[in-house]
């Protein structure tokens, strides 16, 4: 399978973003072209996909992701995602996607009230999303997890619908370290174009600088998908 090497993937920077540089590096490692997007502008610069990176946008004031979800760039992302543009939200980016209503549910304080920072095994349960086609079903991947508001919650009917439709994309192996319902680590939109997860694939693209290179396939997957469009 050949990648769409000219695929332009936007990486948003908010005040308080931490992992935008690593996300852009992951795009480059996957042979894509990272494009910097700024929180205060509603211009997506013609990108083919967007990564919303981790960090503490707006200092996590009010709720993690709440302020960011109302910024001009997010308005543009919401419009583009509804038109089918692939979006990946990592950690704070996942929280932002939930606050913006692009993904259901919410992330709340870890059940043990501790900031978790560890390498975490995940199972890839859905390999049909725009961001997971390079994985095999049930594949286990090792990526860093680092957050304090990582416990996924949703009402019972939402959770049942996610499970029944295969929209739980990533699940923690073993007990969820943060108390997440059904050990949910990541989910997707009904069309599989918008994916959010708490662990950090962008930190796991090279064994020199991370626990594995298992995260790289996420970025290669979307470039494959863009090449076929």
């Amino acid at each position: 399978m050949t990648s769409f090497s000219s695929g332009r993937i936007g990486v948003i920077t908010f005040p308080g973003s931490l992992d935008d540089v690593d996300a852009a590096r992951a795009v480059r490692y996957a042979d894509g072209v990272p494009v910097a997007l700024w929180h205060a502008e509603d211009d997506l610069r013609g990108v083919d996909a967007v990564v919303i990176p981790g960090g503490f946008s707006y200092g996590d004031y009010l709720r993690a992701g709440a302020i960011a979800s109302h910024q001009p760039v997010l308005r543009a992302v919401i419009d583009a995602a509804r038109g089918g543009m692939p979006v990946l939200g990592i950690c704070n980016g996942f929280q932002i996607l939930c606050e913006a209503g692009l993904l259901p549910g919410a992330m709340v304080r870890n059940s043990e009230l501790r900031f978790l920072c560890k390498d975490q095994w995940l199972t890839v349960e859905n390999t049909t999303t725009a961001w997971t086609t390079r994985y095999s079903g049930g594949e286990e991947i090792l990526v860093p997890l680092k957050n304090i508001d990582g416990r996924y919650v949703a009402d019972a009917s939402t959770l049942a619908e996610l499970e029944a439709s295969g929209r739980v994309v990533f699940r923690y192996v073993g007990a969820a370290p943060n108390g997440a319902m059904n050990a949910v680590a990541g989910i997707c939109s009904p069309d599989g174009r918008v994916v959010g997860l708490m662990p950090h694939p962008e930190h796991a693209i090279d064994p020199l600088t991370g626990p594995s290179d298992h995260g790289l396939a996420m970025f290669r997957s979307v470039l494959d998908v863009l090449a076929r469009m």
Binding site: L62, A66, E99, V108, R109, L113, A154, D155, G179
Partner: protein
């Protein structure tokens, strides 16, 4: 200028480990009889006369609270 209070608390079905930690600390103060603590947020707004109740509920439901996990009340002082 009218003042408004918005109180936001986690929904009953959402586990509130911060409230639990507070409840567990009370016996260490020699205080018994507190069965449960739910921790929330309290907002005080000063608004123009023109800001109506519908707008206040929009403020609460679209920004101050996340309806997925939180309940909220709006009260004019």
């Amino acid at each position: 200028m009218p003042r408004v209070v918005v109180d936001v608390v986690p929904k009953p079905e959402i586990l509130d480990p911060q409230g639990q930690a507070i409840a567990r600390a009370l016996p260490r103060l020699g205080i018994g009889g507190v069965r449960e603590v739910r921790q929330g947020k309290h907002f005080e707004l000063s608004v123009d006369d023109a800001v109506d109740d519908a707008t206040l509920h929009r403020i609460a439901g679209e920004l101050l609270a996340n309806p997925v996990i939180e309940d909220w009340t709006v009260r004019r002082l």
